[in-house]
């Protein structure tokens, strides 16, 4: 794949300053503190808005996924390396932390729990150094397939090597036996939440700073044109290797936090499905921007955990959303947001609001109509006989009568129809908003 990539510059993930959506990709060299402070405050305040334990658990899961996705994007977005087995580094870090946790419990060693993720990170990095020593000599298909092979091997080992991985049941421990940290024993979810939030801020900041170091910049150069980078005297291989190790480190931290949050690690943390999910998460959020994976992780966790409470068909919607993203917004959700930066800078966002309302709201209603049709078909086919009632969007009706079908079809058709009608208008407004100077 590399071979072709170098031949055809158009097919690279590269920074093209002529495209507004890619202008932000390189990022400015100045480091602004604003967003970080806001994010930090938001993280602090969140538990006051959502006090329930389940919301905390879901947010913990989100932040862990955020770290993992950011670490993954160090490879995919910044280094142009596609890994199909990245769950391994997070999982191994987690397993290692769990063994430490059990050691602390068994032998009563004084060990402060908040430091645990650091050890997970070191272990993840150690393993990444081992694998990276031979896998980073090429990018593209070769790297991808080695990562797939190694991922499958480790996942298979996890059920065979019971001593370390605990077989199919995994290994579990109790986080509360560590040294009390300023009186905190991590009995409560909220304490764990703040621990995870702290590590999230720290790792995100470090990963951001890494992308601004010379190695981080070279990773971009090697991604875009390894040959040219080599001519400049940089070894593409070593640049990849450093990125890979750094990524392994932060994956390990995520694994350590997983161990603290769930107190159990299983084969699931290593297998191909988890590796696939993180690829989806990162791409959904947008590989081109540092904060892309953050959005992706939040969106995907909500889909997986909250939408699945509402419908069995959540994975159909997730799959469809994902395909739509790849097809229409390859920059991911972050790319979609960043498309608006030029218009914002030109001060023309206000001109977009009305057309957006006119098109996107009917489109959303239309899509909901289609979802309703899918749900009704599912209920009609698989629901219990005699149990014709179904509840959708807070209304209960009979899925075997004609009227709901007509309504759903009408809603879908009208919604999509209006959206189609007003779409040219939106496009016009979009072009207008992105043109410098007044044309009105």
């Amino acid at each position: 794949m590399t071979d072709e990539m170098t031949k055809d510059p158009k097919q690279q993930i590269t920074t093209d300053p002529s495209k507004p959506s890619e202008r932000m990709r390189a990022g400015s060299m100045t480091i602004t503190l604003g967003p970080w402070i806001i994010a930090g405050i938001a993280l602090m305040l969140m538990p006051f808005i959502f006090t329930s334990n389940s919301a905390l658990t879901i947010m913990n899961q989100m932040w862990i996924t955020v770290i993992f996705a950011l670490a993954y994007n160090m490879l995919l977005g910044q280094g142009g390396m596609l890994s199909f087995g990245h769950a391994v580094y997070m999982g191994l870090g987690g397993f290692f932390c769990m063994h430490i946790m059990n050691y602390v419990e068994d032998y009563g060693v004084a060990f402060p729990l908040p430091l645990l993720p650091l050890f997970g990170g070191l272990f993840g990095m150690g393993f990444a150094m081992l694998i990276g020593s031979f896998s980073t000599s090429g990018a593209g298909t070769r790297f991808a397939m080695i990562s797939l092979g190694v991922g499958e091997l480790i996942a298979a080992c996890s059920v065979i090597i019971v001593a370390f991985f605990g077989g199919e049941e995994g290994i579990s421990g109790d986080r509360t036996y560590g040294l009390p940290f300023f009186g905190v024993e991590f009995l409560k979810q909220i304490e764990v939440y703040y621990l995870i939030s702290f590590w999230l801020m720290l790792s995100a900041a470090l990963m951001y700073l890494f992308s601004r170091t010379p190695v981080g910049r070279m990773a971009n150069a090697v991604r875009d044109n390894p040959e040219r980078a080599q001519f400049l005297g940089y070894s593409a291989r070593w640049v990849r290797f450093y990125s890979f190790c750094a990524s392994g480190f932060f994956c390990g931290i995520a694994g350590g936090l997983f161990a603290i949050s769930y107190e159990i690690l299983t084969e699931e943390n290593l297998n191909a499905a988890s590796s696939g999910v993180i690829l989806l998460v990162t791409f959904l959020g947008g590989v081109g921007f540092f904060f892309g994976p953050i959005i992706g992780a939040i969106a995907f966790t909500l889909l997986q955990t909250v939408l699945s409470l509402q419908t069995e068909l959540w994975s159909i919607y997730a799959g469809a959303l994902f395909l739509a993203t790849v097809m229409f917004f390859p920059g991911g959700l972050a790319g979609l947001l960043m498309m608006h930066v030029p218009a914002f800078k030109l001060g023309k966002m206000s001109g977009l609001v009305v057309p957006y309302f006119k098109t996107l709201i009917p489109a959303a209603i239309g899509v909901l109509g289609i979802c309703a049709l899918i749900e009704m078909t599912f209920h009609f086919r698989h629901g219990a006989t005699g149990d014709n009632e179904m509840t959708l969007f807070w209304t209960t009706f009979d899925s075997h009568s004609v009227l709901p079908w007509i309504i759903a079809i009408a809603v879908a058709a009208i919604g999509i129809g209006i959206a189609k009608m007003t779409a040219p208008e939106m496009k016009e407004a979009w072009d207008e908003a992105n043109t410098a100077g007044g044309t009105s």
Binding site: A39, M59, G167, G170, I264, E267, T385, G386, D387
Partner: protein
Amino acid sequence: MKKITKLGAVSALSLIIGATAAFAEDIKIAFIDPLSGPFASTGTNGLHQFEHAVDFMVNDEGGLLDGQTMEVVGFDNKISPKESLIQLQVAIDQGIRYIVQGNSSGVANALTEAIDKHNRRNPDSRVLFLNYAAVDPALTNDKCNFWHFRFDANADIKMDALTDVIAADDSIEKVYIIGQDYSFGKAVSAAANKMLGEKAPEMEVVGDELHPIGKVKDFTPYARKVVASGADAVITGNWGADMLSLGKSIIENGFEGPIYTYYAAGSGMTAAFGEGGKDRIRLISQGSINPIGSDRARDAYNSFLERHPDGNIDQSRIYNTIGMLAEAIKEAGTADDVVAVANALENMEYDSMWGGKLFMRPQDHQLIQDMHIGVHTDEDIEFPYDSSTFGVKTESTIEMASMDSPTTCEMKRP
């Protein structure tokens, strides 16, 4: 921008969780099992049976206590321990105090530990874990706790019953054991070796092997080894696609003897085995379907079929779970104090409508019940599976199987 996204996302989150907040009147049961993904069929079938069981046994009879109804709420855990723990937390926050789960001992293990920790750390929102199908013996031995009750017989009890039958069969001299390479497969193999050694020392175990779980595309090579070993019978703990492929492959490649299994019925498997598996596939189960245990059980099955014409009651223990829970709540006089309910469940004797007596052993919270060994056939079948003509007919019964089996459980009571 990040903040706005987060705010939007989390307000959606609170809205959705809030929208499903609990009503105190109903007694809610959280069903945490796979409803999507590769194991969804087993999970969905289980949920249907639970929903029917609460309606048939509790709600249609006028409810519990002062007319409270029972409701089963499905939570999709995608057979992942991680998701199970998240869904457990959501269920607890919704005020649910009873958790049922069965698919995968790995998940059951994660849940029982999490529930033990939760109950220790949060005494005001304690929950009970009613395990209806996870059979890893450890759950009622080393890993037992006061909050966990198992309504299925564990792998050792089932193997005890199976080996009783195998040892009594004079035509079997050589046995081949094959299973999936994980805790349950290994437990089956260990129990089979040990018990056959005790009950029929002259019997020879000609093969004992494990294959990767869910990864084998073609079982032919394994089947060849079974045939080549000259075995008279095969014992396997396989389930799901691994069971079907292994069974079909063994039969197709010329094996003539019986195949003793744990999970070779329902979920499309009975139909898929069809004629080829007739009189060959034998399986161990609790609750006899053909002939059916009682008239009430017949009514239950028929009313289930009215709801789900393509469905099967392949886990009759689900009805026992609900029946015993309802009984315990009545005895405790409350559904909110789970310690009282758990105390009522311990030592409970209960007459199952599927026949026989049930006894919840207090030492380890393992239900002691009759075990049946059935055969896959299309003769004398009143209730076939998978809308086919085939079903499971009970051939022999072991009453109150493993009543006195030892346990290493040291139960800590609150």
